[in-house]
Symmetry: C2
Subunit: 160 residues, 2 copies
DNA sequence: AGTGTACCCGTAAATCTTTGCAATTAGTTT
DNA sequence: AAACTAATTGCAAAGATTTACGGGTACACT
């Protein structure tokens, strides 16, 4: 089933309305698979397509699309909420965030299913979603800081 | 070692200054262990102690305390950033967030160490932190909705 | 197709958070 | 103890997100 059709069905099921704004916002995410877009980025991309939708509506719409399972919210701690397409068939994935350069790396595997089951058994919670972020230093930045470190030592040495 | 002493040492190590504001903000968290405070809540609690610190400074200070390892940032998707005391000796814990009532439950175990190691090996990342949230329905809300469900059925039945 | 109702959108205001700037202050050096 | 330097603070402005409200629109029911 096509995804717009799925959007329409989902909206009908919830007695919500099919509007051009909702389809337009979803289209931006479909045209930018793999990216983590902020509300402002969605707004800009829509503007470039001569589709002017107010920021308030974009915020409301991404939240709705999240509730309906089309998007996931991801927060990288950079001061803005981001959203990405959530493929319904695939497992969830996680994010590795480099605290030096801010680059985001994806971890394709989920690996949390066992843990989820364990927690459901222990707590009686019915878990429907999760979000996992790892923070650290990426290989690239590790290499750079080693370089810097050895330069520093070389300088200290030459001063002696 | 006392925690304020630790704060002072950590600040000195980074060539930052020991200020009354920094100690006051930390004190609020120590007096409210187990809570997840927003910047505004910290501000209010300080005001009640006749300690007026500007919001800007509170935001800057909680971020600094996080960088230095005294606090963890937690985001429950309720529109505000929250911070909590991070016990240095204990493992990290995770949060279960009920999407119906908003209550937060804590999971004491970390359980992510193996996974971290696996990812470090695979990607070359040096992981220093992580944040994991589970979203679902708590036992209490499950019970409530079952109740509602059976009432509904009872009504439908009586209509027949 | 016309009517009615509830939902949805855009605007503006409110709220949460970050940032630039000038005055103040902590801590070092003399 | 005075002088100096650089970090820190508070204020105000900017930026990000949510919310209240009135007019407009989707869609169900004739």
């Amino acid at each position: 089933m096509k995804i717009y059709e799925k959007l329409r069905n989902e909206l009908k099921k919830r007695h919500l309305r099919i509007t051009s704004q909702r389809e337009a916002v979803l289209s931006i995410f479909l045209e930018n698979q793999g990216e983590h877009l902020t509300a402002d980025e969605v707004y800009e991309k829509l503007s470039h397509k001569n589709s002017h939708i107010s920021k308030a509506t974009i915020y409301r719409t991404v939240d709705l699309l999240k509730e309906m399972g089309f998007l996931s919210k991801v927060n990288f701690g950079d001061g803005m909420e981001r959203y990405e397409v959530k493929e319904p068939n695939s497992h969830q994935h996680h994010h590795l965030i480099c605290t030096k350069c801010g680059r985001i790396y994806e971890i394709k595997e989920d690996l949390l299913e066992e843990l989820e089951k364990l927690i459901e058994e222990k707590t009686g919670f019915k878990i429907v979603d999760h979000q996992l972020n790892f923070y650290g230093i990426c290989p690239r930045c590790q290499a750079l800081s080693e370089e810097k470190e050895s330069k520093k030592k070389a300088i200290q040495h030459s001063i002696k």
